[in-house]
Every structure is written in C-alpha cells, then in structure tokens.
C-alpha cells in the first residue's frame, strides 16, 4: 500500500515537471513566432545596416563587390549593380538579396522595381 502511494506521488511529480516543461516550450514557441514575424518582415522594414568596411572583410568576395557598388549610390536595382560590377543581373540580384537576409542591406519596392541600398540609420552626432 505504501509502495503504491509512493508511486502515485512520484507520478504526480513527473506530471508536474512535464507541465513545467510544456509551459517553457509554449513560451519558446511564442518567442520564436515573434522572431520569425520580424525576420519575415525585414524585406520591407527600414533597417540600420552595418555594412562598414571592417564587416566587409568578413564577407565572401562575391558579396563584398556588391556592397562596394552600393556604397557609390543612394539606391540601385540589381541591373544597376550589375553595370557597376561587370557581373550578370541574376548574380547581383542573388548577392543583394543575400545581403538583405543578413541585415546588411535594405530592399524597397516601387511598383515593379526593386531597389537595394545601404543606408546607415540616423545617428545623433556625439
């Protein structure tokens, strides 16, 4: 009888722990959903990219060329970037989109045209 009582008590403890784990999982799922929402909205959200020259050194050469082409203009289409780098438009479109996914470039749409830019956020001078 005592053994059975102990088993029930243990089971109740396991259930309690499982409930705790479940609540933590709920919290993580909710947090993940919020992060995903921010991530998916990045293409249209104004960002403060940090594609400075030191960050550039950590990037592969293909992306570095795209960033340098974007340094020279306010904003550019993939075709504009291709003209500056001498590479093809699909290559530049791929590189620019990769920079957007990395949070290093902005992407805006005007009608059918997509523009890429590297504009740092406004900063109050120290």
């Amino acid at each position: 009888m005592e053994k059975q009582f102990m088993e029930v008590k243990l089971l109740a403890k396991v259930v309690e722990q499982l409930k705790l784990i479940n609540s933590k999982l709920d919290f993580l799922t909710q947090q993940n959903a919020e992060l995903l929402k921010i991530y998916n909205a990045r293409d249209v959200m104004p960002l403060s990219p940090k594609a400075d020259v030191m960050t550039l050194l950590k990037l592969p050469l293909s992306l570095r060329k795209t960033v340098i082409a974007l340094y020279k203009v306010e904003r550019a289409t993939a075709a504009d970037i291709a003209k500056a780098t001498g590479r093809s438009r699909p290559v530049e479109s791929d590189c620019a989109n990769q920079l957007v996914r990395m949070g290093l470039a902005n992407k805006t749409r005007e009608g059918m045209t997509i523009y890429f830019s590297i504009e740092p956020g406004l900063e109050v001078e120290k």
Binding site: S48, P49, K50, A51, D52, V53, M54, T55, L56, L57, L61, R64, I68, Y71, K72, I118, P120, G121, E123, E125, K126
Partner: protein, 259 residues
C-alpha cells in the same frame, strides 16, 4: 580620374612626404589634383600647409563626413600659392585634440556613412571633371579611415622602409586588407639603406621584398638626411625640384600616369 591611397603598415615611413610631393609634381604637370588627409587620428596636412590653413580652411574633412558642409566647401584650392600649371586642392583633417577624440568615438554606422561620403566626394570630382588625380594620405596600420580610403581608391601605394618589421607589417596589411579587396597595389621602398639586414645573403633586396609581398616595387628611394632634417612646411617639389628625392618621385608619377 585616378584615385590613389598612400598607405603603410607602420608610421614614419614617409607617406605624407610622398603624398604631398607627388601631388605637387602631378599638379605642376598640369593635372588637377585633390589631396585628402585620411589620417584623422594624426592629421599631418594641416601642419605641412599650416600657413595656408590658418586663413583659408573654413571646413575640415571631419565636417564634410559629419554632414556639415558640401563637397565644394571642404576642398581648399591652393594652386595660386605655388603657381602650378594644374590645380591642387586639399581636404584637411582637423588636427585639434577634440576632433581626434571625436573620430575615435565614432560608431560602425558613422564609419559606413563616412565611406559613402568619400565615394560621393569622388563622384563629385569625377562628374564635373574637376579632378585627374585624387590622393589619400592615410593613417598607418588598420584604421577605419585608412581602409575606407583604400576601398575607395583604384591603386594602393604601400610605403615601407626595408626594415624587417616594416616588411612584416606591410605583408599583414596586404594579406588581410588590400588583397581581400583585390586592390591593385604597388610598393615604394623609402629610406632605402643598402646595409640592411635583408641583404645579408647579398641577394637583391627588391626581389626579396617582391617575393614576400607578391606586389611590384616601383621605386627604391634612398635615405636622404637633408630631406629628413628639412623643414616639412616647405614643399621639396617646389623648393628643390632637382633634388634626387623629387627625381625619384617624378619616376613614380610617370609609372602611375602610364598605369
């Protein structure tokens, strides 16, 4: 327009001396030259042209990068002071301690704005055919301002002495920075001394350096005591155009012009 950045792995290699005199040589050949002080942590051009700075500089390059003035307001035309055939305009970095401290505290975002501003300045010089040459006198080693200038330039001129420490520093800069940006790079061996440790095996120093750095040495300028001891506010290319140091730089200018 050709954009040159004059850089080095360590300080005291003669970057400013070469940059200022090369700018004068090119301006005297009739080219329109823009000389920019990209050494915001140790500005030198304001000292070299101190007589002019006092009454002609309204805005510093720092002001331009901070968005306080336009491209045409930051460049100071000094051609009339030297009667050059071409135009020589200079963008001065602010040498005050407050300005240097200000640059040191800048953020990543500001540095991104700075590199874009540099590109806009070059575009302005290119657009109206204001410039034939733009020369950046940079800060030694790995500094934001120097790398910004290097990224914006077509040709990187690394100035080094034949000292082994200089060689290592130059090698690291080339490996980690210039080669990563696929910049066309040439070396100027300044203050060259034949009794150097690199010549222990009696091999050709230039060949050894070229083998290590994998970039051509375009000039080997000997160490001239009178140049080192001379008054830095007097431009050698103006005061002593026949000096062998200037003759060496004339050859550098020829090579750059034909490149």
């Amino acid at each position: 327009m050709k954009t040159l950045s004059i850089h080095s792995g360590r300080g005291g290699t003669g970057k400013t001396l070469i940059a200022t005199n090369l700018a004068c040589i090119l301006a005297n050949r009739g080219f329109n030259v823009t000389l920019l002080d990209a050494d915001f942590r140790g500005p030198c051009l304001a000292f070299v042209f101190s007589r002019i700075v006092d009454y002609r500089v309204k805005y510093w390059l720092n002001d331009f990068l901070n968005g306080r003035c336009n491209q045409n307001e930051v460049l100071v035309d000094i051609s009339d002071c030297y009667n050059f055939k071409g135009k020589l305009q200079v963008g001065f970095a602010n040498p005050s301690i407050a300005a240097i401290q200000n640059v040191m505290n800048k953020s990543q975002a500001w540095e991104l704005t700075a590199v874009k501003k540099l590109f806009s300045l070059l575009s302005y010089l290119n657009k109206d055919e204001i410039g034939d040459y733009c020369i950046f006198d940079t800060s030694p080693g790995v500094q934001y301002s120097s790398i910004n200038a290097l990224v914006a330039s077509d040709l990187c001129i690394m100035v080094m002495s034949s000292d082994v420490i200089d060689l290592e520093a130059t090698k690291n800069i080339l490996k980690d920075i210039a080669d990563n940006f696929q910049k066309k790079t040439v070396i100027i061996l300044n203050k060259y001394c034949p009794e150097n440790r690199l010549e222990e095996n009696k091999k050709n120093t230039v060949a050894q350096i070229e083998a290590v750095l994998k970039h051509p040495v375009i000039s080997k300028i000997p160490c001239y005591c009178d140049v080192l001891q001379g008054n830095r506010t007097e431009l050698l290319a103006v005061k002593k155009p026949d000096h062998p140091f200037i003759k060496q730089l004339e050859e550098v200018a020829n090579k750059i012009d034909s490149a």
